[in-house]
Amino acid sequence: MSLKENLTEAFKELIVKVATGIPEDVYEYINKAYETEENPLAKAQFEAILKDMKLACMRTKPICQDTGTPYLFLEVGDDFPLKSGIIDTFKEALRYVTKKMGILRPNAVDPIYAKNSGDNTGRFIPWVHTDLVPGNELKVNLMFKGGGSEAPSTLVMSPPLKGWKTLKETIIKTVANAGPLPCPPLIVGIAVAAGADMALTLAKRAVLRPIGKRHPDPKVARMEEELLNALNKLEVGPHGFGGRFSVLDVKFEYAYRHPATFAIGVITSCWATRRGSMTVKPDGSYLITSKHLVHEGDNCVVR
């Protein structure tokens, strides 16, 4: 098979895995929440969520009917033989999984002509971020981001002197105001940067980092922990039913800022955070590097 054919197959496998198999970290944290939560209504929600994850895995069905907007975060090696072909290949795989397999709901809508493309591709969709890196491999991070959980996402351009004060207030009020709507418990990405777009992009990218894995900078890591503890005191809980788990984690990222700006981006991601990653070699052989809840025999296992 040619590299393009191999890559198409790789993308199909990754897309199906991400849409139907909850990532290992999310599965473990929801299990932990279910086991430790004492509020009966919140516990009932976690029980339903765990059943849903297992059914999605057993039946190769989407975890949520909102199969989201596709985001690609690529690291393209200098010597990886494909460049624009990577995106074409991904689109082909996306069309196949949407139209031939019926696993993804068509979610790409033209706002000008009010038409759904029917295959999840469209102008600027998938949304792609590319980093150019040394080497000959391609690294792919794929995220399907739900619409409802994107709605509360916030941008605040703060005066720099008030930056940190504004940041604390923004993240707490964003999660509190959203209440049950974005399907908590959430993963919250937050970023500080020079530009508005930078802050939101970095906040979204931060959601890729697994739950429980702290930022490598100890100062940033400590802020993540403080914000996580503070948010869980809100007692929004799963779908607004209270209890100890309003957020699963907080992920902080930053770029250098401009002396006159302090852009704060907040991205909310639902309990059904769907993301996965793989590495592709120049000959098209690939390895899915993220672990998911997958079907094996009569069971679902994390693999």
Partner: protein, 216 residues
């Protein structure tokens, strides 16, 4: 402190069959868990509009909604080789988008239960008290779990015009749930009270956080 009691006591569980009677509905209270067996009908934004337009013109709806449960849902559906429909995933959508028309909808159609996610507002709460209906939430995002309880697609209307997610689907369901009642016929709106409580907590938490010297 109503809500503390509701949260910590074991929730009451009801198993109901459609058509739902006023007696079925009036015994339900916020915090109760319900499983439904029978017929539920989906409608999102556009189907709501279409249903109300049809009634406005004095015409009959393709299905009588009296006593049934309405589900705010845009499913993922695919056709089997024999032409029948398979519901792949069918979790709830955000109910608040329908708030502006739901009171009229309840009055004119006679639905007894509305299922969605995220809660609804004062107009719907008022209409539910007047016309005896309840609002219950299905776990948001749990699309595969919802699909599992849907045993059959009985009908689908306006598919051509509205497309799969917006069409009006008629599902035969078995033990569809858990549904948690958050608006009952006494005028109680669980989420409204809960979210006021959360906002108060938010003020306090922001003040506590302000004392922390970010970045450390």
């Amino acid at each position: 402190m109503c809500c503390e009691v509701i949260e910590m006591s074991e929730p009451k569980i009801y198993r109901l069959k459609t058509p739902l009677s006023n007696d079925d509905i009036e015994k339900l209270r916020v915090g109760n868990i319900v499983y439904i067996t029978g017929t539920i009908v989906t409608a999102r934004d556009e189907a709501h509009e279409k249903i109300l337009e049809t009634l406005e013109e004095g015409k009959n709806l393709p299905i009588n909604l009296n006593g049934l449960a309405l589900y705010h849902c845009g499913p993922v559906a695919r056709k089997r080789p024999d032409g029948s429909w398979e519901i792949v995933a069918a979790g709830p959508t955000t109910s608040m988008r329908m708030e502006s028309v739901e009171a009229e909808f309840i009055e004119k159609t006679g639905v007894k239960m509305i299922i969605g996610k995220g809660g609804m507002g004062d107009n719907t709460t008022e209409a539910m008290k007047r016309f005896k209906a309840v609002y219950a939430v299905f776990t948001g995002g749990a699309g595969a779990l919802a699909a599992e309880a849907i045993k059959k697609v009985k009908d689908v209307y306006w598919l051509e015009d509205l497309g799969i997610p917006e069409a009006m689907w008629v599902f035969e369901v078995e033990n569809f749930g858990p549904l948690i009642v958050t608006i009952d016929t006494t005028g109680k709106n669980y989420y409204k009270e809960r979210m006021e409580e959360v906002m108060k907590r938010a003020e306090k938490i922001v003040k506590e956080l302000e004392k922390k010297p970010f970045p450390f």
